[in-house]
């Protein structure tokens, strides 16, 4: 999952980015409003964490412009300002959640994950796809009740696919959401990880889960009649 953090305070941004990376999120950082706006315009972020008092362009403005251009990424506002009016205004303007500084890092992570989930249409932290169960809090995967050890990247790919069941997900889309920009040219890493995933998920008596569509991408298939 790819998160955009727009925060001008360098130390705080560094801490938040480190925490996001610890839980397997890919983070891009902008330290002023204009850069934040440009990055967000790509529409590739699963969540945007936005500070309000930014140099260049205020957080309110960034949010407003974003929604104006029909970018629907969930937005969590980080604010050091009090006052319910401004929060109500922000939520009405298209923000999805807010957190007051000084916040709890754990709470920020939980809220960001919840926003990602909601953005994908899921309502709990445990995702299931036929006989695969994925716990997003503990980052564990089981198939037919059997625990499966996955690398962080393999876990992220599976989580992303489960969030979009039955949809065709291109390699490009996976790269956008799951990797830092510097890795973009290694497009064959996806193929390697997918093949590893297939191998690990292949428990006895189970149907193949990940289907390859030539030149289009990958799709999770459900063997359940439902």
């Amino acid at each position: 999952m790819r998160v955009l953090l727009v925060e001008d305070e360098q130390r705080l941004a560094a801490n938040i980015m480190a925490a996001f990376r610890e839980v397997g999120l890919v983070v891009d950082h902008a330290s002023d409003g204009n850069t934040g706006s440009h990055l967000a315009d790509q529409g590739i972020y699963d969540v945007i964490v936005l500070d309000l008092m930014l140099p260049g362009k205020s957080g309110q403005r960034v949010l407003h412009d974003l929604r104006q251009r029909s970018i629907h990424s969930p937005v969590l506002i980080l604010t050091a300002l009090d006052g319910k009016e401004s929060i109500i205004q922000l939520l009405n303007d298209g923000a999805d959640d807010y957190l007051s500084k000084p916040f709890d890092l754990g709470e920020l992570l939980a809220r960001v994950k919840a926003l990602i989930r909601r953005g994908k249409g899921a309502s709990t932290s445990v995702l299931t796809m036929s006989d695969v169960v994925l716990d997003t809090v503990h980052q564990t995967v089981t198939r037919k009740g059997e625990a499966i050890e996955l690398s962080p990247t393999e876990y992220r790919i599976l989580e992303y696919l489960i969030h979009r069941p039955l949809a065709v997900v291109s390699k490009r889309e996976m790269l956008e959401h799951l990797y830092d920009f510097s890795w973009e040219h290694h497009s064959n890493v996806i193929e390697v990880h997918i093949s590893n995933l297939r191998r690990k998920l292949n428990v006895p008596g189970a149907e193949p889960l990940i289907e390859t569509l030539r030149h289009r991408g990958y799709r999770l298939t459900s063997s359940d009649p439902a």
């Binding site: 705080l12 610890e22 009090d82 000084p102």
Partner: protein, 470 residues
């Protein structure tokens, strides 16, 4: 607490009515005198006329002795009149009223006489006339010297005067009543803009400092200064209230951000088990974050201390004195690491001790804030020049850098708390935006000035002027 309430309406009405009553009284006195004069004249005329009618009524008696008699037919005698007609031989031809008490002497001298009879004032007219009867005879007629005394009570005159006064008094009373009613109504109407102004002023509250004087108050010449003064005063209050609010908000923002950094650093460290090296690196970072929080708090407290009770501060500042030379040297010493880091050459040119009325810590704070500011805005390998000179009873501190200078856009806000200028000078450059506000507060406290401008060689120059301590 209202100790005594005063009504302008009542005062005005009472004042006008008292004046009117005084005017009416003066008028009544004048009218009384005038009326009395007129009535007395008329009275005297009546006396003369009546006496002359009586003279005319003296007729030939047609008897042997060529006597005269009084024929009162066709002669009008006023009621209550007292008269006596006597001929030269003392014969009383006719009389009316009490004559017993009349002094006999008065009939000898013609003219007017005022006499008191049975405690009543009478006025008499004595007429001596010659009456010739039978003028056709050889001797040219018989001559009779007739003496007429005619009098009336003077009270009649006063009756007329009092009638006139009564008429006038009633008219005046009516006039007073009409005036009072008219005045009350008209004053009420003219005071209504005050009520409207008061109502509008009453709307001002914690959440609504917006005030526009009602048009009625603006149009009233007497109220216009009050309305304008209210507007101006409220605008000032609103402005300073806004500044205060902004300061509190910005201070909270600053503190919360610094606390957020400290908190997130520690929480990040505790997210999972880490190696000893990771822990010690994390703790070092956390300590750094904490130092920053501490410095922000210290700056805020300094600013609060300097701005609190401004006048009291001036007094206490006047009691202190310290050497600006020492403060500058100390500030240069303290900022050496930053200067070395950016390889900036700091040159100082200090003349004399330059003793100023400041606490030592404040003068050091002032010098080091300006110096650090100059270092932060200098390019690497640049230079900063500090001079202290005495000029006209003042110490002048100049700090010049060769950095990017100040933009016209920033100039009005340079001393605003938390103002950080443009993007490039956001939090990452390290400042809280309080340094210059603190400098300004220190200069204000010492009765000095601080100015920032660009110098032609490119870069900013800060000039601080402080009165020399006596």
């Amino acid at each position: 607490m209202i100790s005594r309430s005063v009504s302008i309406t009542r005062r005005l009405v009472v004042a006008v009515l008292i004046l009117e009553i005084l005017a009416a009284l003066a008028l009544i006195v004048a009218i009384t005198l005038h009326e009395r004069h007129i009535q007395l004249k008329a009275f005297d005329a009546t006396l003369i006329g009546s006496a002359e009618s009586l003279m005319g009524a003296v007729q030939d008696a047609e008897d042997e002795g060529d006597n005269v008699l009084l024929d009162l037919r066709g002669v009008h005698i006023n009621n209550g009149s007292v008269y006596k007609v006597v001929d030269e031989r003392g014969r009383v031809l006719g009389s009316a009223g009490e004559f017993a008490q009349l002094p006999p002497s008065i009939s000898d001298s013609p003219g007017f006489h005022d006499v008191k009879i049975s405690r009543r004032h009478y006025r008499f007219f004595v007429l001596h006339g010659l009456r010739i009867i039978d003028p056709g005879n050889s001797k040219g007629g018989v001559r009779h010297n007739i003496s007429i005394v005619y009098g009336m009570r003077v009270g009649r005159v006063w009756h007329e005067v009092i009638e006139a006064i009564r008429f006038f008094a009633i008219a005046t009373t009516l006039l007073l009543a009409v005036t009072a009613i008219f005045m009350v109504l008209s004053i009420r109407k003219s005071l209504s803009p005050i009520h409207e102004l008061a109502h509008e002023t009453d709307q001002i509250g914690d959440h609504n400092w917006h005030f526009i004087a009602p048009a009625s108050a603006e149009e009233t010449v007497e109220l216009r200064p009050l309305a304008r003064a209210l507007e101006a005063a409220l605008t000032r209050v609103q402005l300073s209230f806004g500044q205060q609010k902004r300061f509190t908000r910005d201070a909270a923002h600053e503190l919360k951000t610094d606390v957020a950094i400290v908190k997130s650093s520690l929480q990040l460290l505790s997210m999972r088990k880490r190696t000893a090296d990771e822990y010690s690196a994390g703790l070092a970072l956390s300590l750094e974050d904490f130092t920053r929080l501490e410095s922000t708090v210290e700056k805020l407290l300094n600013l609060a201390r300097l701005e609190q009770s401004h006048d009291a501060g001036r007094l206490s500042a006047a009691q202190h004195s310290c050497s600006l030379k020492y403060a500058v040297e100390e500030a240069i010493q303290q900022s050496k690491p930053l200067a070395q880091l950016k390889m900036i050459e700091v040159t100082a040119n200090i003349e004399g001790e330059a003793s100023v009325s400041l606490e030592a810590r404040d003068s050091l704070l002032l010098c080091s804030n300006i110096l650090v500011n100059a270092l932060q805005h200098s390019q690497e390998q640049g230079r900063v020049c500090v001079t202290v000179a005495a000029l006209n009873e003042s110490a002048v501190l100049t700090v010049q850098d060769w950095g990017e200078g100040i933009s016209e856009e920033d100039r009005p806000h340079l001393f605003d708390p938390f103002y950080r200028g443009d993007v490039s000078r956001s939090r990452k450059s390290g400042g809280t935006g309080l340094g210059l506000s603190i400098c300004k507060a220190i200069c204000d406290r010492a009765g000095g000035t601080i100015e920032i401008s660009n110098h032609p060689a490119g870069g900013a120059v800060v000039v601080v002027t402080l009165p020399l301590a006596i």
